[in-house]
């Protein structure tokens, strides 16, 4: 038994076994957990959520669309609809499905958890945009009411999720849908992105790849059947109308409108000065609040003072203090352009 070669092989075998078991995403343990999740309750809640979204967006909802959305057979969908009807959560009027008031508040509860969790992941963790939705899809079926309220309190009772969707209150209040599609804009018009639809995933990830996020300023350049061309925070961007439909825009409320490519803080060389125009909305949560607490707000004069040995981070002089920022942070702080300063 104490033969080194045997032991060595055994050791490797154990290492590989452990790896296969606990590997995130595709490991055996996480697969087992995932299968357990795909149960009846999840399907019921997903169906409710889908019907709610249809109503919110004023689309008719049918049995077939449910089957398609949940990726199940028509028979299975019929079973779920029957069950929901029995529970008094939905009404079936000919082919169209609508929520009862109980059904609506149930759906809003699930949506509240989903959006709160996305907000939590976006603000407080280092998970990337494309993982928020997936994680929230799982958690929305698990969190109890108490846990949800505790989470909400902990992250400051947010009212919008990171995609720009309003978060229902614990009492089930939700504002009317606002804004219009990006494709409805006219050339020359200025607006802000207020919402990016995160489903279907294929379209959402294309929007992410363009670096678009809620809070960006849009200046429309060209819009027709083939393409939508616009400036987002000064960067030119072209989308197909199909994709552009997933983006909702609204009027600019607080910021000054900007034109052309924006200069970022990271472009300042040591000794150069600039005035902060704003912080990109993609810098969220604690990160964002910290920068503002340190005095990096619109109108702040900022000077690159000192480079570290490798050139990143760089120390900036802000309101009398010297603060080191990493390059990826400085990339997200926009400066007022030279000619506009005076």
């Amino acid at each position: 038994m104490n033969e080194p070669l045997t032991l060595l092989l055994l050791g490797f075998a154990i290492l590989i076994l452990v790896f296969v078991l606990v590997k995130p995403e595709s490991g055996i343990i996480s697969l087992l957990l995932k299968n357990k999740n795909a149960n009846q309750k999840t399907l019921l809640e997903d169906a409710l959520k889908f019907i709610y979204n249809c109503e919110y967006n004023k689309i008719n909802c049918t049995l077939n669309s449910i089957a398609g959305n949940l990726n199940i057979s028509a028979d299975a969908a019929a079973g779920i609809v029957a069950k929901l009807q029995n529970m008094g959560l939905i009404q079936v009027d000919r082919d169209y499905l609508t929520l009862t008031s109980e059904g609506k508040s149930y759906a809003l509860r699930v949506i509240r958890v989903h959006r709160l969790w996305e907000k939590f992941l976006a603000d407080e963790t280092s998970m990337t945009e494309k993982d928020w939705h997936k994680a929230a899809e799982e958690i929305e079926h698990k969190l109890s009411v108490e846990e949800t309220e505790k989470l909400a309190a902990q992250i400051g009772n947010p009212v919008f999720d990171p995609h720009g969707d309003p978060i229902p209150t614990a009492e089930g209040e939700l504002p009317e849908k606002a804004g219009k599609h990006l494709t409805e804009m006219k050339p020359g018009e200025i607006a802000t992105i207020i919402h990016i639809e995160d489903e279907p995933h294929a379209i959402y990830s294309q929007i992410l790849a363009e670096g678009l996020y809620p809070g960006m300023q849009i200046r429309m350049i060209e819009v027709n059947d083939r393409r939508v061309k616009f400036e987002a925070n000064g960067e030119e961007c072209i989308l197909s109308p199909l994709i552009a439909k997933s983006i909702t825009i609204g009027p600019i409320k607080f910021e000054k409108p900007v034109e052309g490519k924006l200069k970022t803080l990271s472009h300042l060389k040591v000794g150069e000065k600039g005035v902060v125009l704003g912080i990109a909305k993609s810098l969220r949560g604690q990160q964002r609040r910290r920068l503002m607490d340190l005095g990096i707000v619109p109108g702040t004069e900022i000077e690159a003072e000192l480079e570290s040995i490798s050139g990143d981070p760089v120390a900036y002089r802000v309101r009398g203090a010297t603060i080191a920022l990493r390059k990826d942070q400085a990339d997200k702080i926009y400066l007022v352009k030279e000619e506009e300063k005076n």
């Binding site: 909400a152 309190a153 902990q154 992250i155 400051g156 009772n157 947010p158 009212v159 409320k253 607080f254 604690q286 609040r289 910290r290 503002m292 607490d293 340190l294 005095g295 802000v318 309101r319 009398g320 203090a321």
Partner: protein, 264 residues
């Protein structure tokens, strides 16, 4: 406890202080010590309390709390060191502890230690605290550093602007500490009445929201001295404020002085 006519009575909220774990049995006044990190706050704390201090945690939190005592003019003061923060508006536990202590504990005096070489940045915290309480003494610390770097800070102008006493100090050398004590005493006893600066906002939407909310809060809790701050915190979704409105705890705060709303 509540006595509107008693000018130099302690203003702190005994029952809330008890909840916050502060024992006032052998003290006349409670003084909170706030300030940004790196302003020499702990030097000021050590100077004022000497060896009469002990450390523990805030109830239910992992945030360290140091408290100590000192005597001045025959009155006994308890000094509570709040966590060093840049702001009071974020969701971090440190900031929650600090703002809830000032709001609910209603200390007789809040001493804010600021760095004379970085006045502008430190004013962020000062202006926020002045929204919560008007019993403030500002300790303009690190004056030695400012002098070394040829930065001139006019304490008198600052005091006039902010409406509260501003005491230039260099706590390391003990400079100005007696004057600091004198002002703490005067504010605590009501001999010095502060007229704190209120944040002026140019944003119409924000002003409207704050005004509307604070009027409603005022109606519900007529004694509340700082409705503007409460409205602001509501707009930021502060759970402790929501709870305090729900259970009416806000109504139990002592009348300190009704503060007028101010608009720009």
């Amino acid at each position: 406890m509540i006595n509107d006519n008693c000018v130099n009575c302690p203003a702190h909220n005994l029952s809330n202080l008890k909840k916050l774990g502060i024992d006032m049995s052998s003290f006349d006044y409670v003084v909170a010590l706030a300030g940004n990190p790196n302003t020499g706050k702990s030097t000021v704390f050590n100077y004022l309390t000497g060896l009469k201090q002990h450390t523990g945690n805030w109830p239910g939190k992992t945030v360290t709390r140091a408290e100590g005592g000192f005597e001045y003019n025959g009155k006994k003061f308890k000094l509570v060191d709040l966590p060093g923060t840049y702001s009071l508006l974020s969701t971090s536990v440190d900031e929650e502890v600090a703002r809830d202590f000032i709001l609910f504990g209603q200390p007789d005096v809040t001493v804010i230690v600021i760095d004379a070489t970085r006045v502008e940045r430190n004013l962020n915290l000062v202006l926020q605290i002045l929204e919560i309480t008007d019993r403030v003494v500002i300790c303009l610390n690190l004056m030695d550093e400012a002098r070394r770097n040829k930065i001139e800070v006019d304490a008198r102008t600052l005091s006039k602007e902010l409406g509260v006493p501003v005491v230039p100090t260099a706590a390391r050398q003990g400079e100005g500490m007696n004057e600091l004590l004198k002002y703490i005493y005067e504010v605590a006893t009501g001999a010095y009445v502060c007229k704190p600066y209120r944040i002026k906002s140019r944003s119409k939407e924000l002003n409207e929201a704050i005004d509307k909310l604070s009027k409603e809060i005022q109606q519900e809790f007529p004694n509340l001295p700082n409705t503007r701050w409460v409205a602001l915190r509501l707009l930021e979704g502060d759970q402790n404020i929501i709870n305090a409105i729900r259970n009416g705890e806000l109504g139990n705060l002592n009348v300190q002085k009704i503060v007028e709303l101010q608009e720009a």
